[in-house]
Subunit: 276 residues, 2 copies
């Protein structure tokens, strides 16, 4: 059962906000869907946009400016939340663990394993819900920012039949090797680091590969570049297995949504070239 | 003295957030300025964007998506706050009076008259500050949304030497006749309604006229349309004095920034056609 929270006309299409009771997370989950006017005439490809730490559907939906180019290209864009939320859902005082920091995996460790099942949510439940309620859809792409870039890369490689394209902005590409990822993986997956490999983009590209090319933009003045992002690790990992990665280091840009908005046209156009 | 709060690379230009101690309001005021990369080579026209009730510089700057088209056209965009703020500044529990609801006039009534001097701020102090700190500028336009549309229309007509162009989204055009305006004017200007006329766009177009054409977009599904906006009043007032008004009623659109973002390209292109 899908509850419509709000609908707004936007660039000739409809920006909707929806909620449902998720079987995966056991919580009420909200997400946004932009449907371009093209969808009245033809099936449209769907790009899933995964947000970063502390975000909800709202950050991307109000700040990323994706509607204009999605409307021009005829893409549906789905922006889910970054974790389960609410009373009774475990949390942590830090911004990088717990609510707002689901890391797009199914936690195996208590107390997180009851609700923090974001992989099941994003890669099973949500696409089924979208396809059921927005029936005129075609192929799927996935992209994300920061922790959401990690989510996009890992979920694409883990579910290659589900997602035909993947791109990322300022992604965490080596979570098993950087502070944000190590903290989250230790909490959600436990101390046995061999279990982390299945959720680390650099390890996954070596273990599973990818059926297409990959597109990543990172700001050269991103304050998280050296400690948390380290995109060159993914460049090396892709090169080692012959996956075609376009990695652009954008001079002057930081980690903010001013960067995301600036790159959004290129990313959605890249997905559209491959999905439409 | 201008304090730089933040600077972000954005669409090849720079989105800055600045603060200063305002002589007009007697408070610290923040505003945002987007400077396109064109400004390194040539003088750029400046469009002032005035926001509506409850907003700060932030709403338009993160939600309106103006940077992409301003970068393409080579426009500087300045987004000020909607009122003085802070401890010691009078306020009201209602969203439509006091902080966040300055109505772009100089209040004459206590307790508002000490700080609520937004006309002096927007039409004198801020342009001087912009010209001093961003010296490579040319002509000025002004636009706004809702209460900011009221501000744009009234300040343009009251300062025709300062602003060469004016447009508005979902503006309050007849504040002396609608609840939002009557409440604010009674508080800020007092019970003598003859003093309100100088801050009512419909009255001003009759009394002062305007040297150019005017462009207004309003959402046909805007929940404030009938009670607070009543754009046909301004259409009639413009027609009566022969001012060329383009008034578009946009089917399906509401009062939100999804509407603002959807119309922003057309408005900035319209200003650019007249300013560059």
């Amino acid at each position: 059962m899908l509850e419509t929270v709000a609908k707004h006309a936007c660039f000739g299409g409809v920006q909707g906000i929806y909620a449902h009771d998720s079987a995966s997370t056991g919580t009420r989950m909200e997400f946004s869907v932009f449907v371009p006017r093209h969808n009245q005439q033809r099936a449209c490809a769907v790009v899933y946009y995964l947000s970063g730490l502390t975000c909800t559907w709202e950050n991307a939906t109000v700040k990323a400016g994706f509607q204009r180019v999605a409307a021009a290209l005829g893409l549906i864009v789905v922006a889910p939340d970054t974790s389960p939320r609410g009373e009774g859902v475990p949390d942590d005082d830090a911004y990088d663990l717990g609510q707002g920091a689901g890391f797009y995996l199914d936690a195996t460790q208590a107390p997180w394993n009851q609700h923090f099942r974001m992989e099941s949510y994003i890669a099973q439940e949500l696409p089924a819900l979208i396809d059921e309620n927005f029936p005129n859809t075609s192929k799927r792409g996935i992209m994300g920012h920061s922790m959401g870039g990690h989510g996009a890369l890992t979920l694409a490689m883990r579910h290659p039949d589900l997602f035909q394209t993947v791109s990322a902005l300022s992604p965490i590409v080596a979570p098993a090797a950087v502070p944000w990822g190590r903290k989250a993986f230790a909490a959600y997956l436990g101390p046995d680091e061999s279990t982390w490999r299945g959720h680390d983009a650099c390890a996954l590209i070596a273990d599973l590969g990818w059926h297409g090319d990959i597109f990543i933009d990172v700001g050269a003045d991103d304050g998280f570049l050296d400690e948390q992002l380290q995109p060159q690790r993914f460049k090396q990992a892709c090169a080692a297995v012959g996956v075609d990665l376009t990695l652009r280091l954008q001079p002057g840009y930081d980690h903010s949504y001013y960067f995301v908005a600036s790159m959004m046209d290129d990313h959605l156009a890249w997905h559209a070239d491959r999905l439409i």
